[in-house]
Chain length 188, copies 2
């Protein structure tokens, strides 16, 4: 891996662990095994490097989700498979967590991938819910857009509660508690 890539990867890790305000150029360089000269040769500064890192993280997150959404199975099966997929729960969501970072939210270039990725995710899930309603897996009274927002919120909030309690099981509980919503109500 070349220096530019190592710098981006280090930045991704540090943004995940410590956020943008908590991450210094020096820390990035040390983790990447690169000097200052190298970093400032490849990137204009900390914001440019962070932008590259956040974009890569957003791409990766979308790609992973998309693979689940386009996998085999009914809409409901794919949705539940996505919800139950293995996650690094105690580290939090590497995109959602950035919403707490004041400097990320204040910079349109850093903020955009965060905004867009979560909006895209809600859209994808809304499509799955709509498909499930159409094929009769879900109750017809569900509002796909609203339900998708709730589902993504449960995950984002699940990360928060799990981190607060230092217990990954809270993420699973939060998700499990929403599953009744994804049954046909008349059936239970």
């Amino acid at each position: 891996m070349n220096a530019a890539d190592r710098l981006i990867e280090s930045t991704r890790e540090l943004l995940w662990e410590r956020g943008y305000v908590g991450t210094s150029p020096k820390a990035i360089q040390q983790r990447a095994g690169a000097g200052q000269g190298s970093m400032y040769h490849h990137f204009e500064g900390k914001p440019a490097l962070a932008r590259a890192a956040i974009e890569r993280t957003a791409q990766e997150m979308s790609a992973k989700a998309e693979a689940q959404f386009q996998g085999a199975g009914s809409a409901k099966e794919r949705l539940i498979a996505y919800l139950r997929r293995e996650r690094d729960v105690l580290r939090g969501c590497p995109i959602g967590g950035l919403t707490q970072d004041p400097d990320v939210m204040a910079d349109p270039l850093l903020r955009a991938p965060v905004t867009e990725t979560l909006a895209w995710l809600r859209g994808q899930i809304a499509d799955l819910v709509a498909e499930g309603v159409t094929n009769g897996e879900f109750d017809a009274s569900l509002n796909p857009t609203q339900t998708a927002t709730t589902i993504v919120a449960v995950m984002q909030g699940g990360y928060v509660l799990a981190r607060a309690a230092d217990d990954a099981a809270l993420f699973d509980d939060a998700v499990a508690g929403i599953l009744p919503l994804l049954g046909k109500f008349g059936e239970r």
Copy 2:
């Protein structure tokens, strides 16, 4: 308000806006209209001041929630009133947001009020859900503890999505999407 109180209040605001790693003693002093001497006379340092600030915020948040939980109405009515209560959605949750702060999570004294407040909140809501199941407002198949975790997660995640999209309506959508869970399933 005396200097110590002004310092705590400034710290509360800054922790909410910028988190712990993003908040400097100097910024606290300026907002409080207090000098360094004053700050270091009243508090041992930034962590001690932050501890006082976080504890006060946690107290206030619990007290507000408790007022709702002990208000008039059935369990379901009180729960929904709490969920729909007015909130400063775009600023995020002043307690939940701290879970993203690496230095808060790393310091047991700063972390404890966060952990405890969210655990307490889940417990309170679990009690409300259990009461609602008992009195027949909620479906008997609901698991109170798990459902409470889901409800708190929806709120915490609602803040995240609203901030990401810069749109408070997403919080309301997330909450609205969970309400069907709080009907009796057979009735819909």
